[in-house]
Symmetry: D3
Subunit: 281 residues, 6 copies
Amino acid sequence: MLYISDETIDRWIKEDVPYIDLTTLTLGIGGIKGKISFTAREFTILSGVEEVLRIFAKLEITPIRALPSGSVVNKGDIFIEAEGLASNLHIAWKVSMNILEYCSGIATRTKKMVETARSVNPHITVVATRKSFPGTKELVIKSIIAGGAFPHRLGLSESVLIFKQHVAFLGDINDLAQEMKQIKANACEKKIIVEVETIEDALLLIESGVDGLQFDKIPADDLKLLVDQIRRINPNITLLGAGGINGGNIEEYARTGINAIVTTAMYFGKPSDIGVTMEKY
Amino acid sequence: MLYISDETIDRWIKEDVPYIDLTTLTLGIGGIKGKISFTAREFTILSGVEEVLRIFAKLEITPIRALPSGSVVNKGDIFIEAEGLASNLHIAWKVSMNILEYCSGIATRTKKMVETARSVNPHITVVATRKSFPGTKELVIKSIIAGGAFPHRLGLSESVLIFKQHVAFLGDINDLAQEMKQIKANACEKKIIVEVETIEDALLLIESGVDGLQFDKIPADDLKLLVDQIRRINPNITLLGAGGINGGNIEEYARTGINAIVTTAMYFGKPSDIGVTMEKY
Amino acid sequence: MLYISDETIDRWIKEDVPYIDLTTLTLGIGGIKGKISFTAREFTILSGVEEVLRIFAKLEITPIRALPSGSVVNKGDIFIEAEGLASNLHIAWKVSMNILEYCSGIATRTKKMVETARSVNPHITVVATRKSFPGTKELVIKSIIAGGAFPHRLGLSESVLIFKQHVAFLGDINDLAQEMKQIKANACEKKIIVEVETIEDALLLIESGVDGLQFDKIPADDLKLLVDQIRRINPNITLLGAGGINGGNIEEYARTGINAIVTTAMYFGKPSDIGVTMEKY
Amino acid sequence: MLYISDETIDRWIKEDVPYIDLTTLTLGIGGIKGKISFTAREFTILSGVEEVLRIFAKLEITPIRALPSGSVVNKGDIFIEAEGLASNLHIAWKVSMNILEYCSGIATRTKKMVETARSVNPHITVVATRKSFPGTKELVIKSIIAGGAFPHRLGLSESVLIFKQHVAFLGDINDLAQEMKQIKANACEKKIIVEVETIEDALLLIESGVDGLQFDKIPADDLKLLVDQIRRINPNITLLGAGGINGGNIEEYARTGINAIVTTAMYFGKPSDIGVTMEKY
Amino acid sequence: MLYISDETIDRWIKEDVPYIDLTTLTLGIGGIKGKISFTAREFTILSGVEEVLRIFAKLEITPIRALPSGSVVNKGDIFIEAEGLASNLHIAWKVSMNILEYCSGIATRTKKMVETARSVNPHITVVATRKSFPGTKELVIKSIIAGGAFPHRLGLSESVLIFKQHVAFLGDINDLAQEMKQIKANACEKKIIVEVETIEDALLLIESGVDGLQFDKIPADDLKLLVDQIRRINPNITLLGAGGINGGNIEEYARTGINAIVTTAMYFGKPSDIGVTMEKY
Amino acid sequence: MLYISDETIDRWIKEDVPYIDLTTLTLGIGGIKGKISFTAREFTILSGVEEVLRIFAKLEITPIRALPSGSVVNKGDIFIEAEGLASNLHIAWKVSMNILEYCSGIATRTKKMVETARSVNPHITVVATRKSFPGTKELVIKSIIAGGAFPHRLGLSESVLIFKQHVAFLGDINDLAQEMKQIKANACEKKIIVEVETIEDALLLIESGVDGLQFDKIPADDLKLLVDQIRRINPNITLLGAGGINGGNIEEYARTGINAIVTTAMYFGKPSDIGVTMEKY
């Protein structure tokens, strides 16, 4: 689903071990063979496991067993076991744990949000924004998918999403409405979606033929009224809610009847708590 | 203080814009000149500003003014203004905002923790761990420094820090104590520091000549007693507290008399809230 | 519009000069200052000029003047002049010429196709496929845009375009039609477009709610009839023609009433003919 | 013969799939196992097969059988079959097809030119220039070799080939002739070859001891006369014909008695036509 | 102990073979299978073997047997044998030989220095500086470890080592002494080490609490007196000798009682002499 | 003459400073402005200066003056002065010094060898082999050119140089002689050069039409006799001497009448001794 380059895997390893593992060298234990195990310390949706196995392969660490990303594990479940030289296990340890903890944290929060939203609106989609920490996009995408969400837009190259920062260069919202026909012709394979904050702007754009609207920071109650009003005009338009939606209010937003919830909330919060043990063979 | 390679700056840009900015192309606004402004929406310790200026330089965006990382800004303060072509401003927008929001979030949380700790123990140091999201280490280090902390260990190559995952290959703690003299000779330019969980282990290692001890997940009250006991034996040993220390309990830990607080807490939490506006010239 | 990384610019230079310029070294002329000029030898839509200027900057070659990509030049027009050391001019020469000739060739062919298509159907869009030589996508995209086309799909990450190679894993076209509602919900921000070869498949999918159809290798006359039939059912559906459309038959296809012509034809053919002269200062 | 780095293989994959395969994700078919087959749709000299197998290896696609580059295949011949997960087959599909079609197109055109030239002059060599699309040199070299040609010069670092753009910095052709002895001493392991356009320049340089001459854009009939005249003076000098030689006139040039034909013509033209099918297991 | 990225391995190969192996191509021998053998021509401590095996793996060369880095071999000992295609053996040949000869040269010189030093002072450590040829640090570190030394400091990020070039910005040595307490608090996990040239500076810093002193270019006899004097004041301080220590005088320096000898001498000198033979199967 | 990519410059910096400069951070001196000066401590042919200036540019260090590579300096000569922030000066210091010392060491040894050889044979060329430490080729080439030598062969892609390791796959020397005509036709733009150890092999190959011979490890006296004998047969053939030629015996070899001396000796030996001072502004 997501191919990560060898260069990226290597960059993660070297980020933590630019030269050598000084502790292992100083202790003189590098040549001893042993086993590494990763254990969940809480309910977790796993993510990042395949990347850890890529790291293991580069370090000649042999997996004994590993559950795939997307698996549900509970406190005490061992989900990866592998064996190799102490020198390599120690190089792999922290970077692997960090990948698993950060990715699984995102996957777990995502899963909870998706399930909450779908419990009240089975056809709604949760889409995760591109507001991820620069340098982490591949892992983040993988993790929200492991949790059942879809990507909102992955970057600038793929979709037409018009913000007021674009309108500033066109003139105002009326100029945008007037250009809509040409914009739709230019990008006829794409939906033209505009972020709006008021019903007036929404109605003007609907009339101009816009394919979708993204509502930013509208309270859920107000949004529900807007959605109802718009659906009466155009039942097929794509309606998105964004801005401040999180695990605490996603249920309310899911009830508004929008097609998708646009959120960043799964990116923030503590990584999953995962224990790592090593034993000598 | 921290040199970031051109390849990294480019990778951040391309991560968000692998090919083109489709929206700007479709709207046909790329050739218009304009201004971009970044505004704090809350109390913030800035971080990442220099990296944003590197991105701007690559996109021929000219800074008008910019406050350096480490600056304190408040709600409503404009801290970067720059001008360039709309096509370039839009390429720079989100990646710059993400860098600023994530980095400043870390710097701001760091600053609060450092100030809290120093308010009760002026000589204590807060050191941030290497448990950062793989791919973000350079930005994270920069940000904790902007907030007044120091790095704990940046990676495996630099310091000798012995965990039970190392002892597993040596035998047990007694074996470690017996090897201590040789370990110290091997790495005579480094402090040999061991993570311990009990006073017995601590005392054994102190006797063996260890340079420092890191206490993991010891309640602050208990830790204070340990520190007092150890200082009476060896007033110069380095004592570190780690494991679950955050903004809520850092004051207690700072009072224990340890030399440094080892923490990851500043990495988690919401990014700073920063507004971005654009206007046409 | 399209940011190219420093690494890519460098890779182009090093591809032609992995170590040194042996001829210039052997002749001992490297330290002499001179001028390089690029002249069109035929009607040309320029593309690649900005990339050549990036190469010049890395080699301390100072531009005297340069026309931007998208400019129209005729036989004899000098469009870039620059000065620098002979050693650097010779490193820049062939790679710059190759970029200009290949890119301008694509831009020129694109422009002709776009103009032909629009002469009979002013609202039609020409979109260029992702069938470019691996390693050249950025230059190719830039060049088709310089010629007035839009990208069809830049890669796999951005749009939902379903081929029979996907249907093979779903079952058959009926299975796809049955899944359409869920597919649309999953990717509600995207148009769901399917490549079809028969009217039966087209009608089935239209009924299922598909957003667009791409017709592959249908003769223009037949396609016109299909388009008329489909527009009567759904005037807003996106209709694309693909497969074997080139400069020779694009006019016919433009008359069919489709929204966009999907083509690869601009990628093939001779590069533009551009002369390069150098003179000593 | 030609080692391609992992970074390059990865770059090709990521060029087409910077993040995920959105269609396969949306359809939910990624986890199904299947087979991919590549079939020639016309007479083809294969090239690029080994690179496709490198891509397959990275995506855990297992080859069932594959003909090596250089193989001759005809319409209907299946030349690669492999199996893997639908998610990986779809990532591999287009980039593999593009490599095979572009590379085999070059190899096939090369083979035809080489065979035509050798049919009238069995000892002649066809050498392909460095006028390839920046970013494609490795694949292009591989392909012309698969077709039976040799590389002319791969880049600037390897050979001494003097153009008028060099002479411009020396003075004129007489200055070059005067320097020839020193140039030959400097680069005594290399042949010194000069591109000339007139017989006078040729004779002057022969007298000075030049090792080879490259004639640019001389009609074949005239070139034959020149070659005869020069061979009478120096039978061992290397004589090359360049400029506008292609499949249509290569036979005439081969008859002139030159040692090698320098051409770029195999780089231009349509890629080979190759069909790709997938089936579910 | 030291993970080297795939990109680095690839860079080494491409540094010697940017495109093709022209000789093997011209001779037409690439497809023949054969064996390559590496033989010591003198007493050698091997280093670089694992990297050569990485190169072999990328070129589908199968090892028959190989002694690990750190092995002792004598004149005539064959230590690597492997088989593969002539085309690949020839790509691997020179880069492999260069790695082995340079790395083993360093390892062998290191071993001799370590053994000489330990023969008179069994607890002394030899530490190798970061004065290696830019671009070679990973191989150099590996090699000094293979020879029994430890790294001094690998780079700037890891240790606090204060030179007069730092003091220049602080003021003078008295300012440094006054700041020592704060410096030690800032970096409480590190030893603070200062390079000094006089006993006065040394005593001032010892009083201020410095953790270690590095003496630069002090004659061994003088250094011995200094060490004795300092040990009487502080028996636990780390004392390092640096500057001009090499195989010829290391014994004298080892007798001074310092903890470690800081040297660069193993980096200079002739590579080991290693023979490479190939035979056809 | 030699373009070095930004990625390479960055790699050198990051090799020494993977994250931060811990000493400068700990001392808190990074923000102070100062000057850095590089001074020769012995007679030196400079090399690497331009690369140091590239490093300076990346670190916002402004050069005040700098002598170009190839300049001759003597003990006490200051050849680079520049100013910037202490944080940046300290990042630049060691990597710049290492580049200058290693490169200038090679240039200086090269110059001495070239002058010695030319003092007895003014038309001889000294060519440096590709036996450089992997990862350093660009700097090494630059340095031997700064010292007046030429590159022998830069890598495998550029020249046809046949060793016994090639002959092993062809059969024996007679097979090579028989193939010579075809080999020359294949690579008619290149000289075909063969390494030989006996006069018999030499004569056989001369008869077959070889363009050059490289004699490996022949004593200078014997080589002189061989050269005389061969020149009588073919005065124009290229004759090279290789194997164990260094500063001590180069004069003898230069007297043999060979065209070029192939040597590696300049790569080994101590780096130039260069002093670096910093002062606060």
